[in-house]
């Protein structure tokens, strides 16, 4: 029915705009591919390892 509700990319863009934390936005931007959860987990690993190495 509602075209805006079924358009995945548009929904993600709108959600991205609603998120304030830059880390959350970075994670959301990795919501891609056939397995977006795995993709986000991969990005989270990168973020955490950067924090562990104090690269942030």
């Amino acid at each position: 029915m509602p075209e805006d509700a079924t358009n995945k990319r548009q929904v993600l863009d709108e959600l991205d705009a609603a998120l304030e934390d830059p880390i959350h936005r970075r994670l959301l931007q990795s919501f891609i591919g056939d397995d977006p959860v795995a993709s986000m987990e991969e990005e989270l690993k990168k973020i955490l390892l950067e924090a562990l190495a104090d690269e942030t």
């Binding site: 509602p2 509700a5 995945k8 959600l15 955490l48």
Partner: protein, 830 residues
């Protein structure tokens, strides 16, 4: 796509093949209970989607297993549903779904397997299904608010939205962490636990529990606590050495032995495998051959001496014109000079070879030296890894007094065993290494003197391999002991701290040491904790989007159709909209949809619990129509199965208007199935202009239903229309032709009715010819005169006759036809 015809065989209630043709407007099917009506709807659903709502939502899936195949059909018999769909005015597709083993099916177009329906795109696959069925209506309305949310998301197309939310919630709820991060968190947690155990560090512990936000204050508190324990005037960057000194002084008072027992982690640059590789290169058979060759030319010195002697002779020969020897004064033969030159040239060649061999030997000596150096370094590295432990041997008796409790016995045994085993290993390794070194030095001497046979190189290689093996074993032994000794060292350190009362000092040192890691782990924890906020933000975002769709646009649509089904006499009690419930704090409850209802302006608890069955039925119909119309379904037909259950006569009539609107206003093809014969008659009477198709299921056997096609309008109604039209002044020639054609249909309907009444035989009125009519009337006993007149109508009512030369429509002739029709009906008392 509009449905043109449907062929069913072996599916559900249809054992034998049946074919149904569909009107482009409305097709009505009447069937008493259990006559296969719902099988038609399910056949179509299965053809479109490969499954049915009933099977998909069955609580016990096993009971539905195998239910697609008709029980009278053999398992190897064909079971299929085939539809011909009209795509455009002159384009049709014929698609067939064949049931296969294990409830799977294959779609064929027209005879080739295809993965999905033609003209279906990704967007249309999930679009609202063109079916309104009682069980689906109830399922949607009477489900829990959360199941309703899922159902609505699918129907209204925001399942993508829900999918995004589910994925993010799943990710945020239990994120997978890398092992390095987990290890760091474990280390920091151990440190925090250690701080929490020290009463003198309680203030620090409280601040640390608050995480990253209080990190700066925590650091202040730590340094403040440390400063109290160290000499006045100590700078903050000197805290750690001062604390270490403080601890050492206190520990020395209770224990004077050497207490470092851990082995150093493996970081040797030269691993045994590297050494082996290098030895293979330096001590190779090629090197041995070179040395043997060099030994054969050990007379290099004499070669050089002879060379110099011959050089001198040649110089003398060149300077003496008389060619007399300066030593013996004999006359020299010119040939002798040539022989000397030749001899010297040969020596020159041998000298070059010798020089090369010398260089080669120098290289071998250097390589042997480097190899020995590497071996010594590797052995020294291994020895130094365990140096502290070995030195602790002298302190073992003291350690025994420190680790005296039963629980500490294991640690003491570990230390003792490690000292014994590792010391023995190191002694042997060092002794063998020294032997190899001596042998290497000896071989270097022989190589320098060109007396090495090459065989000693082979023997050295064998001895060196033994030492490298020992080195390998020793390295493994140390690695095995490392964790156990580290544990023992911690226990020992703790015990020393307890006795020296320096536990808090040790924890302070650990804090100073681990502060960088602690601050990074706190940052990591903050990131992980913040995922809860991300989850919450996502849920609120999705809920807000869903509410926008459900409570505004969808509510308006549903309310529009709902009001069309209501009657003026209905009380002001009914559906008032959809909403997503909120928590007390104003946030949305996760994934719930409520159906609201009002009674004379007062909001009720819930439509589901407060409205009557008939109202809920009307609401379900309105919801199904709204979702279907709003969807991007490629199917322009709507199958409505038994829609008027629990509706009274007034609401039944209202719903007929809804069907009319769907057909005429919205141009949808409607397929209506019901067991209510009277209501279906009213449908046809109230929407005569649809001129749809009408089927009656008049019987049911094991082979399937008996299906008769009947006229959309009854003959009386059609005849009345024709009679009224020919009396009209505005009746044109074209209309007269159409009326004449209509008479032919009316004759067919009356003859079919007579056949059923007198012969008890049903007759299809489709393609009825004059011979069929003649035969039927004869068998029914219709008088000859009347029979002849009725058959005569076929002379001009067939549209084919209208093209013949000399044909023209005639009002009086049509009037006569109408009279004959009435005469035949009166004769048969129809």
């Amino acid at each position: 796509m509009r449905l043109s015809s449907l062929r069913i065989k072996g599916f559900r209630g249809f054992a034998d093949e049946r074919v149904l043709d569909f009107s482009p407007t409305i097709t009505v099917m009447y069937a008493p209970n259990s006559y296969g009506k719902t099988s038609v709807s399910e056949a179509l659903e299965w053809l479109l989607y490969g499954t049915t709502w009933r099977v998909d939502h069955g609580i016990t899936r096993d009971e539905y297993k195998g239910s697609f195949r008709n029980c009278h059909v053999a398992s190897d018999s064909e079971c299929f549903v085939e539809a011909t769909m009209k795509v455009t005015d002159d384009s049709f597709v014929r698609v067939k779904r064949v049931l296969q083993e294990n409830e799977t099916s294959q779609l064929l177009w027209p005879d080739d397997p295809i993965p999905s329906w033609p003209y279906m795109t990704v967007d249309t696959v999930g679009a609202g299904r063109p079916f309104i069925t009682q069980h689906a209506l109830k399922g949607l309305l009477l489900s829990s608010p959360s199941d309703r949310f899922t159902g609505f998301s699918r129907l209204l197309g925001f399942d993508q939205l829900q999918l995004i939310q589910e994925s993010i919630v799943r990710f945020c709820t239990k994120p997978s962490l890398p092992s390095r991060v987990l290890e760091a968190r474990t280390q920091v947690q151990a440190l925090l636990d250690a701080v929490a155990k020290q009463p003198s560090l309680s203030a620090l512990s409280r601040l640390l529990q608050k995480g990253e936000g209080k990190l700066a204050l925590s650091k202040e508190a730590l340094e403040g606590t440390c400063l109290v324990r160290v000499p006045e005037g100590t700078q903050r960057d000197s805290l750690k050495p001062q604390l270490l000194r403080l601890r050492s002084e206190k520990v020395a008072k209770v224990f004077s032995g050497h207490v470092r027992i851990r082995v150093i982690a493996l970081s040797a640059l030269l691993t045994p495998s590297t050494l082996r590789e290098r030895a293979s290169h330096v001590l190779s058979s090629e090197v041995a051959e070179k040395l043997a060759a060099a030994r054969l030319l050990k007379d290099s010195e004499s070669i050089l001496a002879e060379d110099k002697f011959l050089e001198l002779g040649l110089m003398l020969l060149a300077g003496d014109q008389k060619r007399v020897c300066p030593f013996c004064h004999q006359q020299l033969d010119p040939e002798v000079a040539e022989q000397v030159r030749q001899r010297r040239a040969d020596l020159g060649t041998r000298s070059t070879i010798m020089s090369n061999l010398r260089q080669s030997n120098e290289g071998i000596v250097a390589a042997l030296g480097e190899m020995q150096h590497d071996l010594n370094a590797a052995v020294a590295g291994t020895t130094s890894r365990a140096a502290d432990l070995v030195k602790s041997e002298v302190s073992l008796p003291l350690l025994g007094t420190l680790l005296a409790s039963e629980s500490q016995a294991r640690f003491l045994k570990n230390i003792t065993d490690a000292v014994t085993g590792i010391r023995s290993m190191l002694d042997k390794l060092n002794a063998d290494c020294r032997e190899v070194e001596q042998e290497t030095q000896r071989i270097i001497g022989t190589v320098n003197n060109f007396i090495s046979s090459g065989q000693d190189i082979v023997r050295l290689k064998q001895r060196l391999d033994v030492v490298v093996d020992e080195l390998d074993e020793g390295s493994k032994l140390l690695s095995e002991w490392e964790p156990r000794l580290e544990e023992a060292e911690q226990m020992l350190s703790h015990e020393l701290d307890v006795r020296a009362q320096t536990e808090d000092v040790s924890v302070m040192i650990q804090c100073l040491d681990g502060w960088q890691l602690l601050s990074r782990v706190f940052r990591i924890n903050s990131i992980i904790d913040s995922l809860k906020a991300m989850k919450q933000a996502t849920v609120q975002f999705v809920s807000a989007k869903a509410e926008e769709i459900v409570s505004q646009r969808f509510t308006q649509d549903v309310q529009g159709w709902y009001l069309r089904i209501t009657t003026p006499a209905d009380p002001e009690v009914g559906f008032s909209g959809f909403c997503l419930p909120h928590n007390v704090d104003g946030s949305f409850k996760t994934n719930m949809i409520q159906v609201k209802a009002c009674s004379f302006g007062t909001e009720m608890r819930s439509a589901v619990s407060c409205l009557s069955e008939s109202k809920l039925n009307a609401l379900g119909l309105a919801m199904s129509i709204s979702t279907y119309l709003a969807s991007n379904s490629p199917f322009e037909f709507l199958v409505i199965d038994d829609p008027i259950q629990s509706l009274d006569s007034g609401h039944e009539t209202q719903f007929i208007e809804v069907i009319g609107s769907l057909s005429s206003e919205l141009g949808r093809q409607v397929i209506l199935l019901s067991h209510n014969l009277d209501w279906l008659r009213r449908v046809r009477d109230r929407i005569p202009s649809a001129d749809g198709a009408y089927y009656e299921f008049t019987g049911y056997t094991a082979s399937g239903p008996t299906i008769l096609e009947q006229s959309w309008c009854r003959w009386q109604q059609r005849l009345a229309v024709v009679e009224a039209s020919i009396h009209s002044d505005t009746c044109t020639t074209v209309l007269l032709q159409q009326l004449e054609g209509e008479v032919r249909v009316i004759v067919g309907l009356i003859v079919a009715a007579l056949s059923e009444k007198i012969r008890h035989q049903s007759m299809s009125t489709r393609n009825l010819g004059s011979n069929d009519v003649q035969k039927c009337l004869l068998e029914c006993g219709v008088p000859q005169g009347l029979r002849t007149r009725i058959v005569e109508t076929f002379a001009s009512t067939d549209p084919a006759h209208h093209d013949q030369q000399g044909y023209s429509p005639d009002r009086s002739r049509i009037r006569s036809y109408c009279n004959w029709c009435r005469e035949l009906a009166n004769w048969g008392h129809l």
